[in-house]
């Protein structure tokens, strides 16, 4: 395998990260710039996910995903990429998003340069 060079291995090309919605709750997640997110609805409810805040500041509510009930063709979202053109910032970006309709749960998506090992593998 060999040892990583000083500074570690280069960041990987974007990966797909799965976020599960279960019991009306959105799993919080930390991903890397360049990654893709797929939301997977495991409930029988339909959900529309909209972004609410970026780093604590309110933003226009763009729709991120519309998910139909589990077992239907649109229960999982299309992949959505979080990409930073050029060199990404040192500090993470924190996106707060949630369901447009009841139960109005919120989720936190943190995007940073690399995902810490304990967040992506055991």
């Amino acid at each position: 395998m060999g040892k990583p060079k000083k500074g570690g291995y280069p960041p990987p090309q974007g990966s797909t990260r799965y976020i599960h919605i279960v019991g009306g709750q959105i799993e919080d997640k930390t991903i890397a710039w360049g990654d893709w997110v797929v939301w997977m609805n495991e409930d029988r409810a339909k959900y529309t996910l909209v972004v609410l805040e970026v780093n604590g500041a309110s933003v226009p509510a763009s729709v991120w995903a519309t998910l139909t009930a589990v077992g239907t063709p649109d229960a999982n979202s299309s992949p959505r990429q979080f990409y930073w053109p050029g060199a990404p910032p040192k500090d993470p970006y924190v996106y707060t998003y949630g369901m447009q309709d009841p139960p109005n749960s919120k989720g936190v998506l943190t995007v940073q340069i690399v995902v810490p090992p304990d967040a992506e593998s055991v």
Binding site: W36, V70, G71
Partner: protein, 699 residues
């Protein structure tokens, strides 16, 4: 990987534990309320138990360097009844979560991925050939591990029947399309969206201007291609014009068309060499034989080929014949130690590079496509396995490049792990499953070369002789040319080796030696064309982009195309060839950011010339020597220079379109290029049989 051996015959694989109950319970405990009061209990937690989508993390990270695990083989059986099937396999396409080992970010990692894969078993349910687990009857034994489908091993003259059943559950995978639904128009281009980092707003990434049928689409619809076979492309032969839909999502046919389906049977005979009768038309004699060798099968539904191969939907298809018998006589025991290495880069997502995102994709240049994740170069699903040999031993390695992207265009050679000089000797014996002539076996550029290059879809057969002493050596790889500026990240530069060769034990006895040029198996007569035959027709195919040289301001400028035309499933993008015609084709590459591995179905070709403008001047132009090397896939080198003054990479080939009239395709084997339009139909016309051209519509 050792857990493969612990799976019992017919053991049902338990579903991964659902996270749903955990989340629901935790939530209820934390809030002290019932969310069912808000939206109803039936909606919140009513999903039936079943296979789960991917969890966030892998249960473990498999280590590298494990002993090499062969893929289980479905092997032919002999029969005295000439109409009986020699190999009869049920292949099911499924979806599930697999744990894929990668290197990147923090080093060795494991990543869960929702993938499509082949599950195979004998139609009669008998055991597979696989020495560590003779009772194994199904492959993969552990569906949580990535890797190729089972290996098929047949012999020239055999009848092969593969029953393909599509049981992909779209609910286990990301949605990338409107999927195959019960709508009148079941197919549509995939959609990809990006995020404006500052506002969280939407940025459309795909399909931009790409349109059906040449865009990424229909990801859960499939079929089978038997790559390297010389069999009929029509009917139940090597027919890639069919769509096998996922069960439960089979759309109704358009008015007046036959029903769509979720199962299909390929049933064909591997032809015997001339002068055997043609299996399709026994009144005619074969003019060419099927090259016995290292071939492969893979999914080939236009629009989803790249994604399905990235998922791992490929496997080895070994066809044995006289060449193998002759080698066994020269090196007794060679068959017993033979290794089949299926090279894959497993991922779950195709990533399109836009002209403005990322900024490295230069405006005015073709758009590249990459696999997401950090796909490592795996062998049979394993990361850098260890192959053991005795000192002095010779083994035959059949190597298949079953990847789908540019970054797997690599040159391989052995390097000593500790002592740089500790390397085995290799001898190339076949390319793309077709034996080379004794002259080429003794050629410094082929048989004697101690390195080899594989583009996507290429195969090579090598004899590997371990050094006479104990030690370790790495089969290393490196990009053929430096990564292009607009290319994908070259993750292959990290720990760049395919397998570790470990030479241990006592020296091989009796000693083994390579065939000599004098006793190396000669080319059969049907691979020795009369080179004085006149060329009936010459053609030039330009691998460029949509509307070349115009269209810079078009939204889909840069879409892969041939002769400026994106595949449209009509005669507008087709080559019509007379049966038995001998033709010479020049294949030109206008891209400076990528090779284009040219592949044509059914008929292999001879390579006459290669021009690679990215090489130093003294090695740019290679004029091949007779007897020529045969191939079915060859990398057309990338171009250099500014758009208005390109120095084109090109390849000149010669082929004779014999034995099988019908319809098939030629295309680039960087498979997202193919899916997005760098493909053409080929119709081989026999006017004695039917009016030509008669191209069918299949989308």
């Amino acid at each position: 990987m050792n857990e493969i051996a612990t799976v019992k015959e017919n053991e049902a694989t338990p579903a991964a534990p659902s996270r749903r109950r955990f989340f629901a319970s935790a939530l209820a405990a934390a809030l002290g309320v019932s969310l069912a009061d808000v939206i109803g209990p039936g909606e919140l937690d009513a999903a039936p138990p079943g296979p789960s989508a991917c969890p966030s993390t892998c249960p473990t990270t498999p280590p590298a360097g494990q002993p090499f695990v062969p893929v289980a083989e479905f092997v032919r059986h002999s029969t005295a009844n000439p109409s009986e099937v020699n190999l009869d396999v049920d292949m099911t396409v499924k979806a599930g979560c697999k744990y894929v080992t990668t290197i990147g970010g923090q080093g060795l990692q494991c990543q869960p991925m929702g993938l499509r894969y082949y599950e195979g078993r004998y139609a009669n349910n008998s055991a597979l050939k696989w020495p560590p687990k003779p009772a194994l009857s199904i492959w993969p034994a552990n569906p949580e591990l990535p890797g190729p489908g089972p290996t098929f091993r047949v012999r020239i003259g055999d009848r092969v029947r593969i029953h393909l059943s599509n049981k992909i559950d779209p609910n286990l995978l990301p949605k990338t399309t409107t999927v195959e639904t019960n709508k009148p128009d079941p197919m549509a281009c995939d959609v990809q969206t990006g995020t404006d980092p500052a506002t969280g707003g939407n940025i459309p990434l795909y399909p931009q201007g790409e349109k059906m049928p040449s865009c990424l689409h229909g990801d859960n619809t499939t079929n089978l291609h038997f790559h390297g076979t010389h069999v009929t492309p029509d009917g139940h032969g090597d027919n890639v014009m069919i769509d096998v839909y996922p069960v439960g999502h089979v759309p109704p046919p358009p008015p007046g068309k036959p029903p769509n389906f979720s199962e299909y049977t390929n049933d064909f005979r591997i032809p015997l060499p001339p002068p055997a009768p043609n299996p399709v038309n026994p009144k005619e004699k074969m003019l060419m034989g099927q090259a016995p060798g290292t071939h492969w099968y893979h999914a080939h539904k236009h629009g989803s080929v790249a994604l399905q191969l990235l998922n791992g939907m490929a496997g080895a298809f070994i066809i044995e014949g006289e060449f193998d018998d002759q080698l066994e006589k020269l090196m007794p025991g060679l068959r017993q130690t033979e290794k089949v290495l299926v090279i894959q880069q497993i991922g779950d997502q195709i990533m399109i590079q836009r002209q403005s995102n990322p900024p490295s994709a230069q405006p005015g240049k073709p758009l590249n496509t990459c696999a997401s994740g950090d796909p490592r170069t795996l062998v049979n699903g394993q990361l850098q396995p260890t192959i053991a040999m005795q000192p002095g031993e010779i083994q035959r390695w059949r190597i298949i490049n079953a990847t789908m992207q540019q970054v797997s265009y690599l040159t391989y050679s052995f390097t000593g792990k500790s002592d740089p000089g500790y390397v085995p000797v290799i001898r190339q014996i076949a390319y793309d499953g077709i034996q080379i002539a004794p002259e080429r076996y003794n050629d410094p550029n082929f048989g004697l070369a101690q390195r080899f290059t594989l583009a996507p879809a290429n195969r090579i057969d090598i004899l590997v002789q371990a050094p006479a002493t104990q030690g370790e050596s790495l089969l290393s790889f490196a990009p053929v040319h430096p990564a292009p500026t607009a290319g994908c990240l070259s993750s292959t530069t990290i720990a760049p080796y395919l397998v570790l060769l470990s030479v241990t034990g006592s020296p091989k006895s009796p000693a083994m030696s390579f065939p000599t040029p004098e006793n190396f198996p000669p080319l059969p007569a049907w691979l020795q064309w009369d080179e004085s035959d006149p060329i009936l027709k010459t053609r030039t195919l330009q691998f460029n982009w949509w509307n070349y040289p115009k269209g810079e301001n078009d939204p889909n400028y840069g879409q892969p195309a041939i002769d400026g035309k994106v595949f449209d499933d009509t005669l507008n993008t087709a080559q019509v060839v007379d049966l038995n015609a001998l033709e010479e084709w020049t294949l030109q590459n206008f891209w400076d950011s990528s090779i284009h591995p040219f592949h044509i179905h059914v008929n292999p070709f001879q390579v006459l010339e290669i021009f690679d403008p990215q090489n130093p001047p003294e090695t740019q132009h290679t004029i091949m020597q007779k007897p020529y090397i045969w191939r079915d896939t060859i990398a057309i080198p990338a171009s250099t220079g500014p758009l208005n003054n390109l120095s084109l990479g090109y390849v000149k080939i010669r082929s004779r379109f014999v034995d099988f009239p019908g319809t098939f395709v030629l295309h680039c084997h960087i498979l997202d290029h193919e899916d997005r339009g760098m493909m053409q139909m080929v119709e081989i016309c026999d006017t004695k049989l039917r009016a030509c051209p008669s191209l069918p519509q299949h989308h």
